[in-house]
Symmetry: C3
Subunit: 139 residues, 3 copies
């Protein structure tokens, strides 16, 4: 059995944003030497997500507007979490909808993704450095 | 370590629908020969889900109505993704709520599910052929 | 390859509630002897969740209010699932937003969590005994 661990870092310049990390994760799969296995990719912060969807600008605009409607940032006083001095309660909620992690199969040494599947880092409280964990298990 | 890979295909006749795939996934676990391990089941398309919940007709009707309220299909012009000529932006959003994948433990050669847990394929832009990946790892 | 299986049980005294299970899961990782691997933690019931977020009382109050707005318990007659005699349709919906499971990397014999990541059992139809599965795979 082989395992491989990599920590990626991201600083998204806005409060909310999505970054395509498919190529970065693919590179880790190749350098792991794993031919058949599983690849876990997860946000290590609780106002961020890793998810799989389409790399299409209009859809990302839809995600932003939709998440803002389901879990609005303002007024920040509507959320009890913000009584602690934070203003990011909405980010904790948005991340539950988008998810913390994805697990992707590795087949014949590559991420086994469908034709339109792209892996994204999703940020809901940006403008600071955050980490994503890539863990690969297999042989 | 053993691994096993299977691609399932589904064509749901409506735009939205849920299909119980528990028995199909169980068969793959048995044919893998894995006694202790993990079984990943994921949609390979980005307007579809694999999720675990109850096999009860009323609940599935509730899912359909609830998802339609949270991420309405019409009017299709409300979503920027549909400016590309698509009409399935809502399917991309609905799938984020229902999730892309499940990971199920394999114990003593069987899916280790709770008494009411059933695995479903969830379709949000149907009427065409789509794939689900089953990846089994263990020994 | 090593594997380790543990069933945890919880009885949450209210309909909805969140319980921090990070230490309990960490203990299982240590007793598994796995140094590098994956740890699956999932609810075995379909009106419950396992999720990772912040251990902050205000945030948990926000989760409760927010989930109640997105998928209200009352009036129970609004959901077709409740026509079966149940009153927990909302719990099945809330659990889809919060998720069934988490997969956490194990690195150097410990759960590889970010600084604020805490693992929670989330209950949406409590006042009875329920189970969570911890499955560890690695070596």
């Amino acid at each position: 059995m082989k395992s491989h661990t990599k920590y990626l870092t991201f600083t998204v310049p806005e409060r909310m944003g999505f970054e395509n990390i498919t190529e970065t994760v693919s590179r880790e799969v190749r350098s792991s030497g794993v031919r058949e296995g599983l690849c876990l990719v997860n946000a290590m912060h609780i106002t961020a997500s890793v998810f799989i969807n389409d790399d299409e600008r209009g859809l990302h605009a839809d995600f932003e507007r939709w998440l803002e409607e389901l879990a609005p940032h303002a007024p920040t006083t509507q959320w009890r979490h913000n009584d602690t001095g934070e203003d990011n309660a909405d980010g904790h909620l948005k991340r539950q909808i988008m998810g913390r992690e994805v697990v992707v199969a590795i087949t014949k040494g590559e991420l086994d993704l469908g034709p339109w599947e792209q892996v994204f880092y999703g940020e809901f409280d940006g403008r600071r450095r955050k980490r994503v964990l890539v863990k690969i298990l297999g042989e």
